[in-house]
Symmetry: C2
Subunit: 431 residues, 2 copies
Amino acid sequence: MPAIGLQCRKCGRQHDLGPFYVCAECLGPLEAVYADAGGNPETLRARIAGGPRTLWRYADLLPVAYDPAVDLGAGLTPLVPARNLGQALGLRHLYLKNDSCNPTWSFKDRVVEVGMAAARQFGFKVVACASTGNLANAVAAHGARASMPTCVFLPRGLERGKLLLSAVYGATIVEVEGTYDQVNRLCVEISEEHPWAFVNVNVRPYYSEGGKTLGYEVAEQLGWRLPDHVVVPMASGSLLLKIAKAFGELQRFGLVEDHAVRVHGAQAAGCAPIVTAFQEGTDVIRPVQPRTIAHSLAIGTPADGRDALEVIRSTGGRAEGVTDAEIVESMRLLAASEGIFTETAGGVTIGALRRLAASGRIDEDATVVAYITGMGLKTQEAVEETLPETVQIPSSLRAFEAHVLPRLDRFPAGTGNAARPVGAEPARGGG
Amino acid sequence: MPAIGLQCRKCGRQHDLGPFYVCAECLGPLEAVYADAGGNPETLRARIAGGPRTLWRYADLLPVAYDPAVDLGAGLTPLVPARNLGQALGLRHLYLKNDSCNPTWSFKDRVVEVGMAAARQFGFKVVACASTGNLANAVAAHGARASMPTCVFLPRGLERGKLLLSAVYGATIVEVEGTYDQVNRLCVEISEEHPWAFVNVNVRPYYSEGGKTLGYEVAEQLGWRLPDHVVVPMASGSLLLKIAKAFGELQRFGLVEDHAVRVHGAQAAGCAPIVTAFQEGTDVIRPVQPRTIAHSLAIGTPADGRDALEVIRSTGGRAEGVTDAEIVESMRLLAASEGIFTETAGGVTIGALRRLAASGRIDEDATVVAYITGMGLKTQEAVEETLPETVQIPSSLRAFEAHVLPRLDRFPAGTGNAARPVGAEPARGGG
């Protein structure tokens, strides 16, 4: 069921499908529109269940047809019940959607697969983007896969490692003097003059629909039901919007029972224009100069901020701002309690979740899903200095017993540890 | 169908299940033994298809029961058809099994989930390992998840980033003076004196069985059939052994039709004891001092080398050694052609595949699977210096047209690029 048209989110005017992203009438943002799924929900569910083990199992709900050339296997990442973290926060049914298990290790692979399928359908020959890092990686990798030249634009001064990850896939990397918002404005200008597909500018109505799959998957993985609360990181605000849209569609098409989901948004306190507007009770998103370690969320003029705010308010959610110190603490808490090492954006999400839980705004029996959208190695400098030193020893049992054993052997002898291993002579183990 | 016992791979003697890993009789390595699956293959296939979307869908074929405490969602990673790379190598049906999409981004999550389930079943209270990096990461993460203290032993001098990835999960990190092989010997000694579960030493017969899931998944993802060739990286040789075992079981249980699979092994030339033995036509694996950038494969005395060699020879496969220069070149080729950024070990695999394809030993119509076992960010220094510089510009259209456009706009105007985007006034895109 590819989209049947585009519609302005502001004035409602309909437009034909094409590489358009702003309303010719009012300059509002365009959004993909679908025919009603129509058919039997059971049939649609069965078609999804029988589909590929990627986000393309939801092709019936996406704006473009499946295109194998851009398929790197993104999507259907683990939804993990988080007992330890849940216990720490007083939540009995907490789940983590771990999108760091994607091909370039962030949720951007989802939006790029959908956006690039659209770009190819429209006949573009070069794919580009404005990015804070993760999106560039995803565009570069998928461009390699689809044999299309890619060009990624980033604010100057990002970690060299993040740039190199795009370079290894063969992208042309352009560092632009200025903030992300200036980079983005430059990309808008370029897209008006040159026939390039900027996935998050002129292909945005298609690209952003890929974010819906993070809503569909959670519902399917919960056994075709909706959670009571979700916590979503916000940069442009688009992801939050699309997850909420997905929940709405699932109910409209009869794939899940009607159920109210409170949608909470998380930003870094150092770049929190949506949170500020929420707190001030206004609709006006005032631009800010980002000052946070959460670079991937550092968008001072969020394109979909107003709509995200509307979703948060209308579902009874909240917008929470998280300090850099809380981000680091939350990254470490998540890794140590659940074995998931996330990037700073994930620290923002967990930090917001902690605030929500501490304030008593989430019932302990509620089903809660927090979205972990990227992996920790890309921003490891955020936690590096806070970690304990290693223990260094020579290769001897004595040294182990003197310097290592006391740190770990806190368990009383003979209690429960019945299975004393009976090794014979030394033998090689090997990795 | 948990294992019914352990059997010595050398003398065949049966042992009871328990935390044992060497034969009391001959000191040979122990291996898990199963009852015949017995039932109808259709029933078993349906049970697998209806199971979780993780390696635990194959619980019927693993030695321990499913344990939710150690489940981080490992397994069922993408099997990607590699058209571009296949074309470059003259292979029409090349697939890449991308195990960098695991929770700690390497295949070690598989063996650790199975090994740690066994460790918990046997009542151990501390989980440990000897590691070259990836295994430590997986043990640390799963220990956090299972609320068990972990202690990881590594040769001194590994990249600090690799160590920190284990530290963030809360593991105690011990750097030992010496090579991996010395670290491993120390772990054997410790396991004899202290009741710790070393996943790759005293829990090895269970742990290593997790590697079989890389065989099962490929067969299932190919529509329940076996490939003609597989290329597997070798450190201890265990993974290759277990993938071959999985193919054998699938045929024995009637899950796939009988089919000969040529199993090829890949090592870095700087640490190639199995390759050397293969080339010399001997059964004797002579220990070597590793000298290669492929640290995760740098095991000079491979525990399962002899058995791996036997599998390679008996299936008509080959063992290939790959130079450091080929490793880097292959990492870049894979990233630029297929959008998959792998660590040095993956460069070894692709390097071996290139050699096999170039020598004409693989028919162009054969179905070939290469195993990509880990991700590139963990060893990014290997490619860093070979990558092109970024382009730096001020935020202006003129600068873009002068310095960036000429690099990419190689397509004649007006040919095919019909979809010239019709932007209205500038609007915010946003990430």
